[in-house]
């Protein structure tokens, strides 16, 4: 049996384990370990006397991964960004944002849902983790929508979809991970996320208004706020601006001078500011302890998937599945744009089964060089390129597209992390409920992605200024 066939069999095993209800990170690790044993044993011709050797080598190879792969400075952004999310909850920022959004946008058809989307977009500016955003808004927005008579599945879907905005609007852990994998400028990538992130929020908002006009099952508008009440709701949400400024200035100084530091430092400083605000708002050891435990729990949940998937990825490396894919992509004789669209479609399919970070970690080492080659290479000029943009700009554009795809896969069944998190926070909802409620947002995301592919300037305008 060739190693590629082994790779396919083991991938089948992974899918089976996941469907049978084994916890995802462990299923990936188990499949990867089985695959490693298989590969090493096959190298010794399946000699029964060598099985013990193959098992030992496989176990020790897998045993390197949990420590080795998580001991990374870039990944330290994930727990810090999760912590920001929980601290912002205790600092009252989530409630303040939601309240302000409700008073300003509640009068629209589907007003509470639109408000939720805009509040999550605002919160995305202090939160780098989509799942954390979904988790905190599941606590505050869903009960309010339920009280106004919203369908509980739709309410959950709004929060799950709104939560994904945190990955595009900076700070974003996943954009940083992309930048680190492909060795591109983190600052420009974070900047590039701004406009597409706001754009996505507008598309979500438009979709909700449209649905509310057509279907009457979505809750009624919330009216009756005076202008005075509206402006009164703004100051409590203002501190978020301070955090935005810190994070932006640590990425890029709009006034043309040096930035203040690296993004990893900016993230941690942002967390510190929110921490001080939470102290000011009355957070004490009891609340801090619970924020730290919640952060630890969510971080462990994500990191278990990361190292589990990476054991599986290590096996794929030995089976050389990525190499086979790379050869195949570059041998295609069709227009580069069509290939790109097919790659994005493949991400949509892959994203159905994989966690976003795992998917990027798994694919980018292979797919990124292929896409850069499609455009004409790392150093190509805009005139000579296939997509009409220079090499570095293509890296940014593709990064935003991929992250948008990753957001998409946070809400697609069967493994959509955001939907799991919302269902996890709200135990009256099953994962299936959330998946059903989030379905309309697939369409919104598909429209957004199509526009980003057709009009790259939505993505590239801001970073080209920096």
């Amino acid at each position: 049996m060739t190693s590629i066939e082994i790779g396919l069999w083991v991938s089948g095993l992974l899918v089976a384990l996941v469907f049978l209800g084994m916890r995802v990170g462990f299923a990936a690790a188990f499949a990867g370990l089985v695959g490693l044993v298989w590969i090493f044993w096959s190298k010794r011709g399946y000699d029964p006397a060598m099985f013990g050797w193959a098992l030992g080598v496989a176990v020790k190879t897998a045993g390197q991964v949990p420590h080795g792969k998580v001991a990374s400075q870039a990944l330290s952004l994930i727990p810090t960004f999760i912590l920001i999310g929980y601290l912002a909850y205790y600092a009252g920022l989530t409630q303040a944002l939601f309240e302000a959004a409700k008073r300003w946008f509640g009068w629209l058809p589907g007003g509470l849902a639109v408000s939720t989307v805009f509040a999550t977009a605002g919160f995305a500016a202090v939160s780098g983790a989509s799942v954390a955003t979904a988790a905190v808004f599941a606590r505050i927005a869903i009960p309010e929508m339920l009280r106004s008579g919203y369908d509980k599945r739709f309410a959950a879907g709004v929060v799950a979809a709104g939560g994904t905005l945190a990955s595009l609007i900076p700070p974003s852990a996943i954009l940083v991970i992309y930048a680190i994998i492909v060795e591109q400028d983190v600052g420009k990538l974070l900047l590039a996320g701004f406009v597409p992130g706001l754009f996505s929020a507008l598309v979500y908002g438009g979709l909700i208004v449209g649905l509310a006009v057509v279907l009457k099952t979505i809750g009624p508008p919330v009216r009756g706020f005076t202008w005075g009440q509206r402006f009164a709701a703004l100051p409590p949400a203002l501190p978020i601006l301070a955090v935005v400024v810190i994070i932006v200035f640590f990425v890029y100084n709009p006034f043309g001078g040096d930035a203040w530091g690296t993004p990893t430092e900016g993230g941690a400083l942002g967390a510190f500011i929110v921490f001080l605000m939470a102290l000011f708002r009355g957070m004490r050891w009891k609340e801090l302890k619970s924020a730290l435990l919640e952060t630890a729990k969510l971080a462990v949940m994500i990191f278990t998937i990361i190292w589990g998937v990476l054991i599986y990825v290590r096996f794929l490396g030995f089976a050389d599945l990525p190499g086979a894919f790379s050869d195949w992509i570059t041998s295609l004789e069709q227009s580069p744009l069509l290939t790109l669209v097919l790659i994005l479609l493949a991400y949509a399919v892959l994203g159905m089964f994989m966690d976003a970070i795992g998917m990027l970690l798994l694919t980018l080492p292979v797919v990124y060089p292929a896409v850069m080659a499609l455009n004409g290479g790392e150093f190509v000029s805009a005139e000579d390129s296939a997509f009409g943009m220079s090499g570095p700009m293509c890296a940014i554009w593709f990064g935003i597209l991929v992250v948008k795809m990753a957001e998409f896969c946070l809400i697609t069944p069967p493994i959509g992390l955001n939907c799991f998190v919302v269902a996890g926070v709200r135990d009256d909802l099953t994962v299936q409920d959330v998946f059903r409620g989030v379905t309309p947002f697939f369409i919104a995301d598909a429209i957004t992605i199509a526009l980003l592919v057709t009009f790259p300037s939505i993505v590239l305008w801001l970073p080209s200024l920096a």
Binding site: G21, A296, K297
Partner: protein
């Protein structure tokens, strides 16, 4: 239900073991949370040290990389205790009674096999970095300021061993439930009914108001 579920506590020996282990698990998870907090403090010290005193923290990256395994792994058993590690429950969720307990017992058993193997593998990883004869017992060190790596590497098999104990308790709990045909077994994560959740939610809101 993908997320956290409740665990029944009673006076049985199994439940007492569960609660003993929970104390250990919660302590480990808190260490993990405090490590996140330290990363935040480190950055503040580093940025202010650099900008105000031209004295960045030596080996900043090395220290962060030392902390990360504690953050990422120490809480693994705490997260398993109430079933927070995510999974697809379309098939399991449709099962009831003995069939459900049997299915849970099987996946927990596979996880236990995996963890026993990974304890071996991660212990070997630790051993390669550890040498009683060497200064600081170190046979593997970080790139910048040569911190010994073995403490962070040791944390992994340690956390995995606690998880293996947790999986043993859950395996016992599920097997017993399957054997005796129980409805509300202790010491394993259970899916709560909507009514229970609503009651708890109301309680929580009441507490928040009275604050």
């Amino acid at each position: 239900m993908a997320g956290s579920a409740s665990v029944i506590e009673d006076g049985s020996r199994l439940s007492r073991l569960d609660q003993m282990l929970l104390r250990v698990e919660r302590a480990l998870a808190l260490v993990s949370g405090l490590a996140v907090f330290m990363i935040m403090v480190f950055a503040v010290v580093s940025v202010s040290g650099r900008n105000f005193f031209n004295a960045p923290v030596p080996g900043y990256v090395d220290w962060i990389e030392q902390l990360m395994p504690f953050i990422a792994i120490l809480g693994i058993s705490y997260t398993q205790r109430d079933g927070t590690h995510i999974r697809m429950d379309m098939i399991v969720g449709a099962l009831r009674g003995r069939a459900l307990w049997a299915a849970e017992a099987i996946t927990v058993f596979v996880m236990l096999v995996l963890m026993v193997l990974l304890i071996w593998g991660t212990w070997a990883h630790f051993q390669r970095s550890f040498d009683f004869a060497a200064p600081l017992w170190s046979r593997d060190s970080s790139i910048d300021i040569a911190l010994p790596l073995w403490p962070a590497k040791l944390a992994v098999p340690l956390a995995f061993s606690v998880l293996a104990l947790r999986l043993l308790i859950q395996l016992w709990g599920y097997s017993r439930a399957c054997w005796l045909g129980l409805y509300h077994p202790a010491a394993v994560p259970l899916i709560r009914s909507t009514a229970q959740i609503a009651a708890e939610e109301a309680n929580a809101i009441g507490q928040e108001r009275s604050r």
